[in-house]
């Protein structure tokens, strides 16, 4: 195994969870998550030689995932509804936790995922990158190739919409 190959494999291990979670947050159909994740890393491999090591990896992956998610949306539009759960998740974060705590955590995470889908794709990626991945707005602007003021504007709209959607979901669950 040459150095570049070993490096790519290590990179995959380091970033596959992040790519998968980002795609899920960006609304990729659960049945397509693994497929889309593979596409992210095929793209990573294609761009490997051109990667700027001085630029942070997280926004780079998120930017690739955003484009993959967009192409997935175009592909599945009008094709089907969500029928499949994301499938088996890694349970390493569940070790030592009580079942009721875990259930509440999953419900909270589920509300976030649902509320995010209320955002437009452009606002969604900004919200995911900033609020969940804690990527600074200038880095988001650079990766998405938009002015930083546009990022701030989208973030503001996304927060408003997300907060309203999450509260509505919570109210619905409490009223049920």
């Amino acid at each position: 195994m040459d150095v570049a190959e070993a490096e790519f494999r290590a990179f995959y291990q380091d970033w596959v969870d992040y790519a998968w979670r980002t795609l899920r947050r960006l609304g990729v159909h659960p049945a397509d998550l693994d497929d889309a994740t593979q596409r992210v890393f095929v793209t990573v491999h294609r761009r490997w030689a051109d990667r700027d090591p001085d630029r942070p990896t997280r926004p780079w992956i998120a930017g690739i995932a955003f484009k993959i998610a967009a192409s997935e949306r175009r592909r599945v539009r009008h094709q089907r509804e969500w029928l499949v759960e994301p499938g088996d998740l890694d349970e390493r974060n569940a070790a030592g936790r009580r079942a009721d705590e875990l259930m509440i955590e999953r419900q909270r995470a589920g509300r976030v995922l649902t509320a995010i889908q209320a955002l437009t794709p452009e606002c969604r990626i900004v919200f995911v990158m900033h609020e969940l991945d804690e990527i600074p707005c200038p880095a988001i602007a650079r990766e998405l190739d938009v002015p930083v003021d546009t990022v701030y504007s989208r973030l503001r709209r996304a927060r408003e919409r997300f907060a309203a959607a999450a509260r509505a979901l919570r109210a619905r669950e409490e009223g049920a």
């Binding site: 969870d17 397509d32 890393f41 294609r46 192409s71």
Partner: protein, 325 residues
């Protein structure tokens, strides 16, 4: 609105819960890695004898009558595959072995044997006894005219275009497919001699012009060259990549991970919508969907298999519930 004042404590807790959620299981991560490596032309995880070595094994095994066919194929199906391949392509096998020498990778020949390898593998999966069968109808696929975009890339790695939106996988993956050095040197020399001798099977109908998945409901027969009415002939390297992807799907089924199998099948569908191993892909998709209790999807895939390959031996091995109505 500042960075903090837009969210209350519960919103903060919800965001924290989503941040803490883990990714896919280790098994899924490994399956995805296998598919990615196969796509980009790297050896599979764990040192990978069965991906890259599969082609070499196919050539040597079939030409010399040896048992090693398919690399990753199960031991149960191996001997059968050799028989099946010899039955359908004996002349090609002998010629190729003479030209390339025993044990060398002859992808042109591998093309003829691949269907048999996967046939045997899926036979092992379905638990039926192996038997000598003619290889499924990949013959016409290798006899089809090649189109420009099906040719292997001129260089092993293409400089990426920054800012280019992510294309379909076919475009994304093709430039980075780096065939094994020994295989590529041999296949390009051997393929022209071997390909014309591939038997023409009457079972493979030409694709219907203008057929699209949306129109037919076919789940993984993605639009591609079929829309042009000129099905492409797969390049040898492409067939190797196809086989590795479907091997990944088969292995996933073998370990009971139908989700991962379906992911590999779908990736194959994107990369090789009209690939030489379409028949095998449809079979694997039917099986995976059946195991996921997606009966409608399984029936659609089975119906497509029956329509496109009415004489396919794989039809007899379809799961009972997925038989087309």
């Amino acid at each position: 609105m500042s960075d903090q004042d837009w969210r209350d404590a519960e919103l903060e807790a919800e965001l924290a819960a989503e941040r803490a959620l883990a990714g896919p299981s280790a098994e899924r991560r490994e399956a995805m890695l296998g598919a990615v490596l196969a796509t980009v032309g790297l050896p599979p995880p764990g040192g990978g004898g069965d991906g890259g070595a599969g082609v070499a094994g196919s050539g040597g095994g079939a030409g010399g009558g040896g048992p090693a066919v398919g690399g990753g194929a199960s031991a149960t199906g191996t001997a059968t595959v050799g028989g099946g391949a010899s039955a359908t392509g004996a002349a090609t096998a002998t010629g190729a072995a003479t030209t390339a020498g025993a044990g060398l990778a002859v992808t042109g020949l591998a093309t003829a044997t691949l269907g048999g390898a996967i046939l045997a593998a899926v036979a092992a999966l379905s638990g039926s006894a192996p038997e000598v069968r003619p290889a499924p109808s990949v013959g016409p696929a290798v006899a089809r005219p090649i189109t420009e975009h099906e040719l292997p890339p001129p260089a092993s790695r293409t400089v990426a275009q920054p800012g280019v939106p992510a294309p379909g996988l076919a475009a994304a993956a093709r430039p980075i497919q780096t065939p094994p050095a020994s295989a590529s040197a041999t296949t390009h020399a051997a393929a022209p001699a071997a390909l014309p001798t591939a038997p023409t099977s009457p079972t493979k109908r030409p694709p219907r012009a203008g057929t699209t998945p949306a129109a037919t409901g076919d789940p993984v027969v993605a639009p591609g060259d079929e829309a042009l009415g000129v099905p492409p002939r797969p390049a040898p390297d492409q067939v190797d990549a196809e086989r590795r992807l479907l091997d990944g799907a088969r292995r996933a089924l073998g370990r009971g991970d139908a989700h991962a199998a379906l992911a590999s099948v779908r990736l194959h569908a994107r990369l090789h919508p009209q690939g030489a191993l379409l028949e095998e892909r449809l079979f694997l998709e039917t099986t995976a969907r059946h195991r996921l209790h997606d009966e409608a999807g399984a029936r659609r895939a089975a119906a497509t298999l029956s329509r496109r390959f009415p004489e396919s031996p794989l039809r007899a091995r379809l799961p009972p519930m997925a038989e087309p109505r």
